[in-house]
Amino acid sequence: MCELNRRQFLASVAVPGVISVVGTLQASAPSMAIAHYKAPPADADGIAEEARRLTRRAVDALGGIPRFVSKGNVVWVKPNIGWDRRPEQAACTNPDVVATVIEMCFQAGAKKVLVSDNPCNSAQRTFPRSGIQQAAERAGAQCYFMDDRKFRKMAIKGAKILKEWEIYQDVVEADRFINVAIVKQHSLSKATLGMKNLMGVAGGARNRFHQDINTALADLAGFIRPQLVLLDAVRVLAANGPVGGNLADVKRKDIVAAGVDQVAMDAYGATLLGLKPSDIGCVVEGHARGLGNMNFQSLSPVQLEV
């Protein structure tokens, strides 16, 4: 069917295309920025403002959103909307971080911004209770529940274990992919960060990934290749992840990081949970495959105090 071939074509073009763009830009602009809030507030409105400012400053430090989104683009913004939890419980991405990313995309002239996720709990609960549905719609994005008809079995180029898997069609048809993940502890993969967040574009029997989680995540990361990765560490889930529920497990780090190298970003995210980058299996695997650099320090990340 012609649509499947178009997918394969796009995937085969995207990989060298992105690498060359990243390669060129790496020479001139920073590839990673870490924004930290100096005076963290305690009230909800203050935290919302903090999240917005951190997100904006982090992306601006990379050269601004026009580096990643061009006029007329269709952008897929992928937050973590996986769990039926409220924003304070740090199971899903902070809605203000997501809203800011959407606003920036429109400022860069994006034609359409799509926001969705294939969640673990029921979508009609996770989307509104995480606050992301309301925030995304207010920012002008199309936030919708995934349509079962649009999961298509696709050939995953370069995959070692996920040779063919159901991927959501709108994701591969979009022009840009921005990964907006939250930092959380996870018993199997030690942490769930950007690469784990990509599972939300996959359908089918995803619960089988866990039998070889690192290989599966690296396969997925090599296929999707986000143009921009953000890590929401305003609140992190330090224990009993990825679901959490106990507010005592939520820690305020007051950081938002942005970067183009998804392996480096995950390597950095691990440190926020008190782990080493080498502790995260998918980071090691991704580095070994050349998907990125796990020695994020060597990328000279820009450190900002906001």
Binding site: S122, Q124, P128, R149
Partner: protein
């Protein structure tokens, strides 16, 4: 409709009210799945709170009743005063049976015979008696045959999932097959329609329920028997109807037949819903739904509804036609 008479405005009003309540039931059914902040989307259990049968059996069986269900005393009160208006105007299951009954064809003679009272209509009172006795001993199985339970349960486990599947299958087929001519594709129209349906009517996830085949089959059966007898469920089975029949067997609002005007054509039976025998002197208020079809159908305008009895039939003596000019004699 019998004859060439125009349908009475009361019948149109009744149909409108029935339709409104049926649509309200469907609307509340759909709202039961709307809950953005862990709060249910409105008074979705309204019909159950209006249901005196559920209130009565729950109270008998468990010696306590949820406060909201006391609303059903209003239904009882209205029925004691006025008769089984609930069955004729409000009950959504009744409206559904009414809808399918009206699809009956058949020759007039067959309809006249079917429209009259059948002695098996007593069965529902016996059914009610069994359930009430069981409730005295803590068994609240009346939910099997309570009309709202039956309708809601059938819809939620069987009918709605099946309809949802049918609609999704249709639009999925169109999406996959992508029919069209050149650049003009059907999906240009079908996808926006599908989005609209998804937003307002379809389930977020296709529901599946164990036990759906039996429940769906019984629902289909109950609807289908309307083609055997009009409003079969309402006449023969419904324990709520039986309860309202007991409560409403001596109503203030009564059917009055002008014996002089009546020529025994029996056309009033053609569309009689409840089987209350409006053509006889023995109109049965416990079976009448106050649908006003008889009043509308009567070519001699002999049937009217009003407070109290218009005439005591035993008091009417046949008088020579020449001795009065009016249509009937009013004897107080």
């Amino acid at each position: 409709m019998a004859g060439k008479r125009r349908t009475s405005w009361v019948v149109w009003l009744r149909r409108a009210v029935q339709t409104a309540f049926l649509l309200l039931f469907f609307y509340l059914f759909l709202r039961t799945a709307y809950y953005p902040i862990n709060r249910i989307g409105g008074p979705v259990t309204l019909f159950f709170q209006l249901d005196p049968l559920a209130m009565l059996t729950t109270w008998l069986a468990s010696h306590a009743v949820a406060a909201g269900m006391l609303l059903s005393l209003v239904t009882l009160g209205v029925t004691v005063l006025g008769g089984r208006w609930f069955c004729g105007w409000i009950c959504p299951f009744g409206a559904l049976h009414n809808l399918f009954t009206s699809l009956r064809g058949g020759r007039l003679k067959a309809r006249l015979e079917a429209g009259g009272y059948g002695r098996w209509q007593k069965a529902k009172y016996y059914v009610l008696a069994v359930f009430l006795t069981g409730a005295l001993l803590g068994v609240n199985a009346v939910g099997w045959l309570d009309p709202f339970s039956f309708l809601f349960r059938s819809m939620s486990t069987a009918v709605y999932p099946a309809l949802n599947n049918a609609v999704v299958s249709l639009f999925s087929w169109i999406y996959d097959a992508n029919p069209g001519v050149g650049p003009v594709r059907v999906t240009v129209v079908s996808e926006p329609v599908y989005e609209f349906l998804r937003r307002h009517f379809l389930a977020v996830q296709q529901p599946h329920y164990f036990g759906n085949v039996l429940i769906g089959f019984l629902f289909g059966l109950v609807i289908a028997v309307n083609f055997y007898r009009p409003r079969f469920w309402c006449r023969y089975i419904c324990p709520l109807g039986a309860l309202l029949g007991v409560a409403g067997k001596n109503p203030l609002v009564r059917l009055n037949k002008d014996e002089e005007a009546c020529n025994n054509c029996r056309l009033c039976l053609a569309d009689c819903q409840g089987g209350g025998n409006p053509n006889t002197e023995q109109w049965k208020p416990a079976e009448c739904f106050y649908c006003f079809n008889c009043k509308s159908d009567c070519p001699s305008q002999a049937i009217s509804f009003g407070l109290g009895k218009r005439a005591d039939p035993a008091a009417i003596r046949p008088v020579p036609a020449a001795s009065f000019s009016g249509k009937g004699v009013v004897v107080k």
